[in-house]
Symmetry: C2
């Protein structure tokens, strides 16, 4: 059975020491989560994740969700009780503004705890996770009345939410969607159509389910310009605002999936269900992106989270399993063989995962802090810069952390040899669960295109230039520091590759957009490496400073950081040149064949 320990010390290192969490105490909510409180919240979240969520992870995988004949869905044993503890602990509304019943704490804290929860039980955490996305849409685009009607119960966790975008014939290309909305004349609409792949679409964990549904108002323009977003509750509300009559929305079936069995992925049928327009008519895409951006960061976090728990279990196995002898002579001569952690190729796997997880965590938290600044700062320039950063990093966090998260789940499974392929060890579940994160909320190819086709050029490239400047200045500022050389040299080399790739895109992507598409995935990963490398640069700098000024008994911790960061520079960063070389070859060969030639 897998185990899990929330990496609290590491989160605190990143927040307090690397990112200077205290510097943000002027932002709303931050003063309520002072470093002491922060530590207490993380410890509490860790306990819930480790002791309540994690023990149900394998149960969820084995039992899955069951659709009953009446269309109701039964979730795995224990899921409802665990979710009860989650909502009673106030985790659902942690970062929701106080005026809507939340605690108004930083989104950063929500993200930090979110990693632990998703690592412990990704499928279970999708129920509250989707609710976060739905709440975000209502918060941003809902009328005051809608906020008052729907949010408090969602913040409580008494009601959960979903996002209904995909239809059988359309996912990425929402312009094709057919679900339709007919006005009732009283401000409400009748929604009809079929949605598929609806996570947490139907289940037994909450008193009501608030579906946010994309549909086309009768007579609306074709394409994405004719899409609107609707609130469609499972149960209509009675006069006092409580769940009353059943709405005409039902779960037609649940999908048999590769993983996340504990989450009910539903085909949802809308048959003139009562719905309420949220935001402007035909402005659904914008509202959808509010949910989506929230969700994309959450999915990136899932990639990191599964990578972390898979890594932890690979480490435990590598220390425990004895097999063969170290190439440099026995390390455990009292035993019949050495633990496999002595073998370089096992180390390579563990170090690769460790170096990624720690930088990935820093990248997520850095982006989360920027989200808080973007939403809460009173300084317009600061807000803009933070918002730029968020927009730029969202596809990188989603695309890179989930691609790598999956890769590392596979790597961790490999450490187990044949035992990794057997379901009872749980490593297969990590791989199967992690796989979806590369697909949903915009497949990673779509993230890459978002980065290259939209985010790069936005506002004349303001966001990307700011990022280059920051990384460049970091390298420059530490240029004279001998001890920092292993980090800054590799980072600078990566940055050069990224800038060259950007220049290539500018020069070749305009003339032929296929060049941009052909470069996109390599560019996104190149970008991710530089962002993660920069996180390592900053973490190394912090660790070095701590060691120089007195490590307070944590010298081992900081020394380990320095080694892990060096590993990242030596073994992971070289990939930047391969990405640059590949993307520079353009689209001509890639696009040369006729479809029939495949």
């Amino acid at each position: 059975m897998p185990t899990f320990r929330a990496p609290v010390q590491d989160t605190l290192f990143v927040l307090n020491d690397v990112l200077g969490y205290e510097r943000y105490s002027n932002l709303a909510g931050f003063s309520d989560a002072s470093p002491d409180v922060l530590e207490a919240i993380l410890a509490e979240g860790a306990k819930l994740a480790e002791n309540v969520m994690h023990p149900l992870n394998r149960v969820g995988d084995m039992e899955g969700c069951v659709r009953n004949d009446d269309g109701s869905v039964t979730t795995p044993k224990g899921f409802k009780e665990a979710f009860d503890q989650y909502r009673e602990g106030g985790w659902m509304g942690l970062a929701v503004p106080v005026e809507h019943g939340g605690q108004g704490l930083p989104y950063t804290v929500h993200s930090a705890v979110g990693e632990y929860m998703s690592a412990a039980n990704m499928a279970l955490m999708m129920y509250p996770g989707l609710t976060q996305g739905a709440m975000a849409a209502i918060l941003v685009h809902g009328s005051d009345e809608q906020k008052a009607t729907w949010l408090p119960k969602m913040v409580e966790g008494a009601w959960t939410g979903t996002m209904n975008l995909t239809e059988p014939h359309c996912g990425t290309d929402l312009g094709l969607l057919r679900s339709k909305a007919v006005p009732n004349g009283d401000g409400s609409y009748r929604i009809s159509g079929q949605k598929i792949f609806i996570s947490a679409g139907e289940h037994d964990m909450s008193d009501n389910i608030i579906h946010l549904v994309l549909a086309r108002i009768e007579g609306a323009p074709e394409g994405v310009k004719g899409i609107s977003l609707f609130i469609v509750p499972k149960f209509k509300l009675d006069a006092s605002g409580n769940p009353g009559a059943r709405n005409a929305v039902s779960c037609g079936s649940i999908e048999e999936k590769m993983g996340i069995h504990g989450n009910s992925t539903c085909v949802m049928n809308y048959d003139e269900a009562e719905g309420f327009l949220i935001g402007e008519a035909n402005g659904g895409l914008k509202a959808m992106f509010t949910m989506m951006n929230e969700a994309r960061l959450g999915v990136g976090l899932q990639g990191l989270a599964v990578s972390e728990i898979a890594y932890q279990n690979a480490v435990a196995y590598a220390k425990d399993r004895i097999q063969g002898r170290s190439l440099t002579g026995p390390k455990a001569p009292d035993k019949k063989a050495d633990p496999i952690i002595v073998h370089p190729d096992i180390r390579r796997k563990l170090m690769t995962m460790k170096a990624f997880n720690e930088a990935g965590r820093a990248l997520v938290l850095w982006t989360a802090i920027n989200s808080d600044v973007a939403h809460r700062s009173e300084d317009g320039a600061e807000r803009q810069a933070a918002d730029d950063h968020m927009g730029l990093m969202t596809p990188v966090v989603k695309g890179v952390l989930t691609d790598k998260g999956f890769e590392h789940a596979v790597m961790a499974q490999q450490v187990f040899g044949g035992h990794g392929y057997i379901e009872e060890h749980g490593m297969s579940q990590f791989v199967r669960d992690a796989r979806i994160a590369m697909i949903y909320e915009g497949a990673n190819g779509v993230q890459a295109l978002d980065l290259v086709g939209r985010k790069l050029g936005l506002n004349g490239g303001r966001a990307v230039q700011a990022f280059f400047k920051e990384v460049g200045e970091f390298c420059e500022a530490n240029r004279g520091d001998e001890q920092m050389a292993p980090y800054t040299k590799a980072l600078k080399k990566g940055l050069n590759d990224l800038q060259a790739a950007t220049m290539w895109l500018v020069q070749n992507g305009m003339a032929n957009p296929d060049n941009a598409g052909a470069a996109s995935t390599d560019y996104m990963h190149l970008f991710g490496l530089v962002a993660l490398g920069y996180m390592w640069g900053r973490m190394a700098k912090t660790a070095q400073d701590k060691l120089a000024t007195g490590a307070n008994g944590s010298a081992d911790f900081y020394e380990t950081k320095l080694v892990t960061g060096r590993y990242f520079m030596e073994r992971v960063m070289p990939e930047t040149s391969a990405h640059l070389a590949r993307l520079s070859t353009g689209s001509a060969t890639m696009m040369a064949l006729a479809a029939e030639a495949f």
Copy 2:
């Protein structure tokens, strides 16, 4: 539902045109498989794979194998009947010498057909696949009597075979194994112990199961020098050589696995079962490697096979699914959207898989021809060179084709978006099935160590030098050829990287073997890229010659080859520099942390 079409034309191109199959007509068996006969055999094998094996692939995944209360195992519906057709078609003994009841045809032909079969139904094909390994051990190490006793029925397929190596506490490190053998005094032994992960260990598809079991004869030395190999039949033979009384070997349970559900992976319990020593006492490791080398090539073939079928289905989906518009303007203006094959990032995936599959097929067939030469040539020098090649390429074929095969199954699944994550489309099965190939018959880390630690230095590096020479001469011979420049330049660059990496290993691996271990996986993949790149060089040369001398109506086929090869050079080969850069950093950082620091 997935579909499958055996790539017969491509196999013929590689064998006839690239590798010059006819040149080997002097070898035993080759004259019986003249180009005409070869084509007929491939067509026949393709039919069986497409029409009989493939339709059962998903059935096998869904039903899995069931162990009944009496210890018997029921295979999925239809498996036995399909296997009946396989054995009745004579496929089991295709390459087995005529004197043992086989057809004595080239191993090359067996491999070519094997790809189709494994692509069509990997789990089903493991039953005959393991039998091939068991037969190889008996053929090479068995006494004449043993050959006469066991082989004919196995060649017929009336009996199947297994390989029993792994025990709960030992897989890679067979020196730890505990199963024991006590002499009965009459030449037979009593075998006791527990074996795990035994593929095809118990099932209902054959009249007897011939287990080849590693065990330690009482009083034998510790470690691998005290291991012997035994034949342990499920049913003892009666006086007339037919299955009689049940032997004391039984299936204790079957494993619940991530994939290959159609194959029964058993815990086998030996309780003083009657067994017969094969080969010399304490010489089991050598005999084991005979099975293992055979099996490793077979597993590499599985990697390629799953990559091929996954690719084919991704292509079909990419042509059929409409979503979004081409970045360069609508390509199917009559439809509401373009087929997704117009999108560069989808192309990138398809081209990557296609370019790999075609080179992988060439590499497998080239190695298979070398196997035939090594076993059948009358020229000692030729035999030695071919055997060198086989030894060198075995870990590369196993390690690289299975790592990449899995990666491509994942890539093909990604083309399907959310639909790829749903079991009904079958893409998940390809991923789950392909995953095991990276693990069994020696995890890929062990393959890399075999390459770096054993094969490179063997006979003063004779094998690797011959390979470098051949590739170098190919580049040199085509240096003046303008049209070949895109291929030879990239290949030469890759070869230079590989030679630099080899030099680095020579200089650093001796002094500190951890450097070799730390470099091993990168080195193996670097080696694989050059080997695959060389295959592309030769395929491009052949295609170009064909086009120049009259393509006989196949101009499109050859043009497509040239484009696909160019893609490989542009987009896949750049990885060689990253491998070199990584491995050149050595083991110091990787090994620096104490185990507790993880």
